[in-house]
Subunit: 227 residues, 2 copies
DNA sequence: TACTTGATGTGGTTGGACCACATCGCCTAA
DNA sequence: TTAGGCGATGTGGTCCAACCACATCAAGTA
């Protein structure tokens, strides 16, 4: 067992036991090192991993944002992992897209009408009508789809959805560049978003799922993603 | 930009550019530090993260297993991340199980009959008949379900499946302890496995998906998982 | 030829030092 | 008394130099 893993295990135990909770603070690196009788380097390596996993956030200085505090951001962890493995060509982009369709259509079929996330999605729809900048539109599109996923009420699916999106975000520019007519595409996307929301509102989960699948697959097909 | 992130970025670029490929070796830590004009500490922090992400494996000594080599193990990365967030109570176990049902039934519906993974699954079925030890049975059960997922031919889904399994592995003992009659349960699981494989062989994807969903949900329900 | 033994190179770990930063509280001057 | 400044304190961020354990390889030796 390497030293930093010992530190990792100690922290994970603290989390499991509820002695470290969301928003809580880890002991200062120097204190933790002394307490566990390891070097500060090893403590830092463990914290670096937890940071990459979206479990903690390290901040310098004093007071409010200082110290190493516990957060809960599973999305970045999964996103970074997926992105790195896409970089090694071990995870095909087509598989990412396929998985996204799978998760998102499931979420659409299962979305609860009374979910606050759904209200947020509807609000985003209005904002997207006013958006003129392509990048601004895409940013809201991301949030719209994430809100849709959240409406299903499954935290794991939401996190995975977000991470899939993040993993191929660097390709977004390439995709839009391949589109023959962005304005036309944007108009179509808006219309499809409305249809999806309408289907969910009418409790027609099956139709919502089909619409979402067609929505996503249609976009990537138009953008020329080889599959 | 923190120093270790610079190192991380450099390595990720090397991966994307194909200058570092699977099985390839990173420069030695001291060399890399000198080359990028950073301290060895920062290089090590970056490598620690990549290691946690399942992108590299570090080995001491000389020769074959020595040095830091590029691997491709997305499962452990996702698994660790999920496990940690389960520890913080931010990801409910019920959501993990639900996601597993979702992914695995999709995979069953989409499994290709000619997949080598399916052959492996069939072979595991035979071995499970001979297994007497509970732990041994469970180990093969994990591999059976992973083989099923691989038969669908989507690397992302396979990785996620494996990670979900890993994230709740520590609960496996609790689940089996809750079962009233392990032998009866094991017999049922074996029979259900056979049905699932049969459905796939007959190209009845829809039935296979239903069977898988009932198989998993039935097990956790019997084991008393609150949902 | 077979075996020992040292050289070499790898990651693993440690302690100490210094920096940048943000806050808190004392002290000074108005 | 009050307002401002300014140093003390504690945080993570970075770097350096040294040493360890380990695995291999090559030279030397019996």
């Amino acid at each position: 067992m390497r030293t930093h893993q010992l530190v990792l295990q100690w922290i994970e135990n603290q989390l499991s036991a509820g002695e470290l909770t969301l928003g809580g603070r880890l002991p200062a690196e120097r204190m933790l090192a002394e307490q566990l009788e390891v070097s500060r380097t090893s403590v830092r390596e463990a914290i670096r991993i937890l940071e990459a996993m979206g479990v903690v956030r390290a901040g310098v200085g004093s007071g409010k944002d200082a110290g190493t505090v516990v957060i809960a951001d599973p999305t970045t962890a999964l996103g970074s992992a997926l992105r790195l493995h896409v970089a090694t060509s071990h995870l095909p982009v087509a598989d990412i897209v396929e998985t996204r369709v799978l998760l998102e259509s499931w979420a659409a079929a299962r979305a609860r009408t009374d979910s606050p996330a759904l209200t947020e999605a509807a609000a985003l729809l209005e904002q997207m009508d006013a958006a003129v900048d392509t990048e601004e539109f895409l940013g809201m599109d991301v949030r719209f789809h994430l809100a849709l996923a959240e409406a299903a009420g499954n935290a794991v699916v939401s996190a995975m959805m977000g991470s899939l999106r993040e993993a191929i975000q660097s390709y977004a520019g390439t995709f839009t560049a391949n589109l023959p007519d962005w304005d036309a595409t944007a108009a179509r996307l808006r219309a499809e978003h409305r249809e999806i929301l309408a289907a969910i509102s009418h409790n027609d989960g099956a139709r919502a799922a089909d619409l979402v699948a067609a929505h996503i697959e249609g976009y990537y097909k138009e953008a020329g993603l080889a599959d």
